[in-house]
Assembly symmetry: C2
Homo-oligomer: 232 residues x 2
DNA sequence: CGACGATTTGAATAGGATCAATGGGAGTGG
DNA sequence: CCACTCCCATTGATCCTATTCAAATCGTCG
């Protein structure tokens, strides 16, 4: 891999307080690769050969069962995925595909596990990363079990709005079809949910969403940090 | 705590390869306590004061939002809960209550974190435990996003049946009201789902469920280890 | 300009929730 | 031991949400 990409990876909280030698060990066998959009990187059920780190672009985690498919999460820079499978030396529980042209770092999972055994700082960093991943899934699960579709959309819009600077306007970071699946509904139903939110000041213009009555929207959405705050 | 309980705790995979001194440090400040049924042990949003380990009985993890409530999981001996919050020194994302008279070990979270820093074997064990918890929630999430209510019930019955020895009969480990919430449905709907499964050889007799046509039930349920196998 | 995919809209349907009422134990107290 | 009570579970009826199917519209890209 190019050495110009190393500092960025090194600064990832997963790696930033590990030994230099351990880091070098990991990186010596790592690939940094660019993939086109819509390429399936991993398939659920396959053995975990690599740990993946998204450095540019965006990767969709999804799952299939029966004939159905559902988006489980979106990974943007700089984020890892399927860490748990790598650590446990188990099969992937989710599939992943690029949702746009993306640059991804691949570290052979054997190396991750061996450095995990050698470098205790790395082991502790992994704990924190795993704990974050775990809490995020718990929040997703609460979201879907405790809220209606319209409420889920309203809260997601508030969250995107906040992360984009509370400007009164937000841009959807992926297409509506994907958003719908992420929120656990059909594209048709998402469209209708947007209409339901119109009286609450939600303006839809393609991928750009305007929020004109934040307070009204919040009254409907009833956001709570225990579901909607990515850091809590 | 009574020293007679120590070996059992020590044998937990979370503790079984840590230093004796670390283990002693943890246990010196730990409480082993018996709680009556239906007692709320922790409430979501509260700071994580203790790590909890269920040694007898059963604890229900649940979440509230708006006016709604949903069961998120059941912890039976010997299992831990809210490990992620303890490690991160964050607030609990879920509440917990005893579903029956239960014996629970409480370890002050400060101690868990300090031993986590000192004892690298403990740190690594925590990673494995966290990875398991993480993968279990992912499976729950896939279950609810990819399956209908009837399919979820069918698969849950098959899972319980297997864990109880494939005898053609299983006993529900908690009341139907809780099972319904765990499966993401109302008690009324659970009752109807059982009726829907009658043609597939599912006999209901109180808490005892008979499965007379496993193959037919499997054809309907389409179980997959990527959702239904607790170890995968 | 034309074609294709994504989104929206409409209509019909299905799945699940809610409301209401009844049956059925388990536990309590007489 | 029995009657009473309470809570859980079941059943019925109805409502509502969300899915499905179908068609029209919009946008983008070649």
């Amino acid at each position: 891999m190019r050495s110009s990409d190393l500092p960025q990876v090194r600064s990832l909280s997963l790696f930033d307080n590990m030994d230099d030698s351990s880091f070098d060990t990991l990186m010596q066998t790592a690939y940094l690769q660019v993939f086109p959009a819509q390429l399936e990187l991993i398939t659920e059920g396959d053995p975990a050969d690599f740990l993946y780190i998204v450095t540019e672009g965006c990767v969709e985690l999804f799952a299939r069962s029966n004939g159905r498919e559902s988006t489980m999460g979106m990974v943007r820079p700089v984020g890892t995925f399927i860490l748990a499978a790598v650590i446990k030396d188990a099969v992937y529980l989710m599939s992943a595909r690029t949702s746009q042209r993306s640059k991804v770092l691949l570290i052979p999972s054997e190396n991750v596990r061996s450095v995990f055994q050698q470098d205790e700082n790395f082991a502790r960093s992994i704990v924190v990363e795993l704990a974050n991943c775990y809490r995020n899934v718990v929040k997703e699960h609460k979201d879907i079990k405790l809220r209606s579709a319209v409420e889920r959309l309203a809260n997601r819009l508030l969250r995107l709005h906040k992360s984009q600077g509370n400007t009164g306007t937000l841009v959807l970071p992926y297409d509506k079809r994907t958003l719908a699946s992420l929120l656990g509904m059909t594209p048709e139903n998402l469209s209708r949910a947007f209409n339901t939110l119109k009286p609450y000041g939600v303006r839809v213009d393609g991928m750009t969403i305007g929020l004109d009555e934040i307070d009204a929207l919040k009254t409907l959405a009833k956001p709570t940090p225990l579901i909607d705050d990515p850091l809590t």
